[in-house]
Amino acid sequence: MSALFEFLLRQGDNALVLGHRVSEWCGHAPVLEEDIALANTALDLIGQTQMWLGLAGEVEGKGRSADDLAFLRDVWDFRNLLLVERPNGDFGHTMMRQFLFDAFNLVHLTELANSTDDRIAAIAEKAGKEAAYHLERSRNTVVALGDGTEESHARMQAALDALWPYVGEIFENDSVSDELAADGIAPEPASLRAAWDARVQEALAEATLRHPEGDFAHRGGKTGVMHTEHLGHLLTQMQWLQRAYPGATW
C-alpha cells in the first residue's frame, strides 16, 4: 500500500466515520435547529469523504470507487482516528468530540491547501471552508455549555476528560507521514500540535473547563492496527445495505 493511498484513506475514513456518527443524531437532537445543523455537518463530512476516498481509489489504480472503499472494507482496513469512532454519548459529548476534531481538521486543511499535490490542495481548499464553519459552531457550543449551568459544565468536563486520551493519536508521526512530509504533500501531524493547542486552550479557558493533564494516548486507529470495538458496530449499520444486497443502487 503506497503512503499516499494510506494518507488518503486516513483523510477519507476520518470524514466518513465522523460523518456517520454525527448523522446518528438525525431526528434525535435536543432542538430542531441543532438537528438540522448536525445533519448539515454530517453531509459536509460525507461530501469530504467522497472527495478523499474518490482520490484514494484513483491513486490506488485498482478501479475501486469511493463507494467501494466506504462500503466494502472491513474494520481492519479502516484508517480513521480512534477519536471519531467513539460513540456519541450525550449532546455535549458529541459536540466536544466535534470541537476537538474540527480544530484539527481546520489546522490540517489549512496546511494541505499548500500541498505539492494539486488534487489534495483543491480538496483542502473546498473542505477548509466547511471545517471553518464546523469549528465556529462546535467551539461556540463548547463555550456555551462549559460556561453554562452546573449540570452542563459537569457534562462538558466529563466529555473532555473522557476524550482526552484520544487526542494524542492525532498528532503522531509515522512512516506514512514522514514520506508525505518529505515530498511536501502533507505536513507532519506533530507540527500541527502547537496551532491546535492554541485554539483548544483558548476555547477551554473561555468555557471555564479544566485542561486535562497527562498525555496518555490510545493509538491504533490511523494505522489500522487496533480499532475500538465501536467501529465494527458502526460498520454493521453503515454497510448493511451493500452487504445484504451487493451492488444495490437507486
Binding site: L32, E33, I36, Y133, N140
Partner: protein, 94 residues
C-alpha cells in the same frame, strides 16, 4: 423558570441589491447563535448573501382588531395613487 430559548425572526437578502426579506423564525439562546442557526435552517440551498435576526419580542405589530381604523380610511382616497399623472415616455416603466 423559563427553559425555552427566545424566538428570533430571520431576514435574508437573496442577492446583492435586493432588500432583506422575512423568511421565518427559529429558537436560539443568543443573537450570534441565531445567525448560525439561520444559516443552517434557511440558507442550505444557496438562498442568501446576508442574514439579519431580530428577537421576536422586539417586533411591535399592529393589532388585527384595529384593521378598520388603520386601513379602511385609505380605501376611498384614490387620489393618493399616482394614476392621475402623465408620466413622460422617457421615464420608462415605474
Amino acid at each position: 423558570m423559563k427553559n425555552e430559548w427566545p424566538l428570533w425572526e430571520v431576514f435574508i437578502r437573496g442577492r446583492h441589491g435586493l432588500s432583506h426579506r422575512h423568511v421565518g423564525s427559529l429558537h436560539a439562546p443568543d443573537a450570534e447563535t441565531a445567525i448560525l442557526n439561520a444559516r443552517d435552517v434557511y440558507t442550505r440551498r444557496n438562498e442568501g448573501v446576508s442574514i439579519w435576526v431580530v428577537e421576536a419580542a422586539h417586533v411591535t405589530a399592529s393589532s388585527p382588531s384595529d384593521k378598520g381604523p388603520l386601513y379602511e380610511p385609505a380605501n376611498d382616497k384614490i387620489y393618493r395613487h399616482p394614476t392621475f399623472f402623465d408620466i413622460p415616455e422617457d421615464v420608462g416603466p415605474m
